[in-house]
Structure formats: C-alpha cells, structure tokens
C-alpha cells in the first residue's frame, strides 16, 4: 500500500513538472521545472530498483545537461518577449496539439494488453552497479559502450567547432 502511494505521488509530481516545463514563458523557469521533473524520475527509478540508473540520472541529467542548458540561456541573454510567446491558438499549434493527442491516445491504447501484468519481487542485487557493470563489461554490451564513448567525443568536438567563432 505504502509503495503504491509513494509511486502515484511521484508519478503525478513528475507529470505536473513536465506540464510546467512546456507551459512556461521564461526559459529559466522551464529549465528549473525540468530539473524537478528529472529528480522525480530519479525517485521513480529508485522505486523500480534501478539504483545505478537513478544515480546516473541525477549526475548526468540534473547535473551536467541542466548546467549546459542554464549556461546557454544565460549566455543568450534573451529579452523578455523573444521567442517566449506561449502558443497562440494558431492553426500550427492546433495541428501540433492534435498530432500529439493522437500519439498519446495510440500509446495508451496500445498498453491495454498489459493492464493485468504484475511484477514479482526483485531478485537479490537487481539493478546494482555490480550487475549493470558486469553486463556492460563482460562483452555483451562492450562494443556499444565503446561506440558511445566515440559518439561523445565526436559530439564534444562538433559542439566546439560549431560554437567557436574562429578555429
């Protein structure tokens, strides 16, 4: 019972934070709401016994990516009105809402078959860093891991090349 109450509280809080992200005029407010949403999702990961993913979520998302966002927002020094307007009920916004609504309805109806699926208790040591690390480094996901490191290097070089005025 307690677990269900905690889960639903966290899930509703995460959804509310998500709604705040997409409805704020000021990008800084949106970024701060996004940090809140990331933290609630990290808490959901803990409930789902994904300890390593929860820690990575806080470190990478709530730490690194959000610092990057806030840094760029501050760097741009936007004046109040620039690109900050909320979606007017324009034709474009209505089409966007309709498409997103269709996607959402499709997703939720496709889940109907899973309505009665129960989760058993987690196995001993499930989701610990030892288990995840073992899976990555024992060869199963070793090549994707190395490719991810190459991808991050390429992205870093690409970001520097794009943003620097003269190389």
């Amino acid at each position: 019972m307690l677990q269900a109450v905690i889960f639903y509280t966290l899930a509703i809080a995460a959804v509310i934070a998500g709604v705040v992200v997409v409805t704020r005029r000021n990008p800084i407010s949106a970024a701060l709401a996004l940090v809140v949403a990331f933290f609630f999702q990290a808490a959901l990961y803990v409930l789902l016994d994904a300890h390593f993913v929860a820690v990575t979520q806080v470190l990478v998302y709530a730490g690194a990516i959000m610092v990057l966002f806030v840094f760029v927002i501050m760097l741009l020094n936007l004046r109040g009105d620039q690109g900050a307007a909320l979606p007017q009920p324009s034709a474009r916004a209505q089409v966007g809402l309709a498409v997103a609504g269709l996607v959402g309805t499709g997703l939720v109806t496709s889940l109907d078959a899973l309505r009665r699926v129960d989760m058993g208790p987690a196995a001993e040591g499930f989701g610990t860093i030892q288990q995840v690390g073992g899976l990555i480094f024992d060869g199963t996901y070793l090549l994707p891991f190395e490719v991810a490191s190459v991808l991050l290097t390429v992205a870093m070089v690409g970001a520097v090349v794009l943003a620097k005025r003269e190389i």
């Binding site: 959901l44 916004a93 991808l151 943003a163």
Partner: protein, 102 residues
C-alpha cells in the same frame, strides 16, 4: 513495485512522452523545444527501466544509460546550434528560421 504492477509505470511514461511531444510541436522557443526532447527521452528511459524490472533483466538499465549518453551528445550539439542561430538572427524564435521552406 510488486504492489503497483507494470501498467502504471508505462502509463506514466506514455503521459510524459505526450507532454514532451506537445512541447516540441507547439512551442516556438528553440530552447524549450530542446528541453521537451529531453523530457521525451526521459519518458522512454522510464519505459526501459519498467520493463527491465518486469522481466528481471538489467539489459534495460544498460539501454537507459546509452540513451542518456546520446541525450548528452544531442544536448551539446543542439545547444551549439541554438547559439549559432542566435548569432545569426539575434532570436531563438523558430518562426524566424524559414530558410529551407519551399
């Protein structure tokens, strides 16, 4: 989570993904569009972790970590592009960037 089951987790994930999609499709501020994309990637991670818990295999966790790596790369390059766009026209309103419009 043995008292909650898989369905509420996936439902939360679907709702968060839809909120992100609404943000991407309706907002005009490039920064908020990027944030909405992060929200969508996070929703997918939640589904990965939920299925991993349901199936009792940690492969889903590994995938979630890979998604985070790709999201970090996407954020870095995307924000560099926003910076370039701002230098070009001194605005981040996507309505002003119609160079490729037919």
């Amino acid at each position: 989570m043995d008292q909650v089951g898989l369905y509420p987790v996936l439902f939360t994930s679907a709702v968060l993904f839809t909120i992100g999609a609404v943000g991407v499709l309706t907002r005009r501020n490039a920064l908020i569009v990027l944030m909405s994309i992060e929200l969508m990637l996070n929703a997918v991670n939640l589904a990965f972790v939920g299925f991993a818990r349901h199936l009792g295999q940690v492969d889903g966790h590994v995938f979630a970590v890979f998604v985070m790596a790709v999201a970090a790369a996407e954020a870095a390059v995307g924000l560099a592009l926003v910076l370039l766009l701002f230098r070009h026209k001194a605005t981040v309103d996507l309505e002003n960037f119609t160079l490729l419009k037919g």
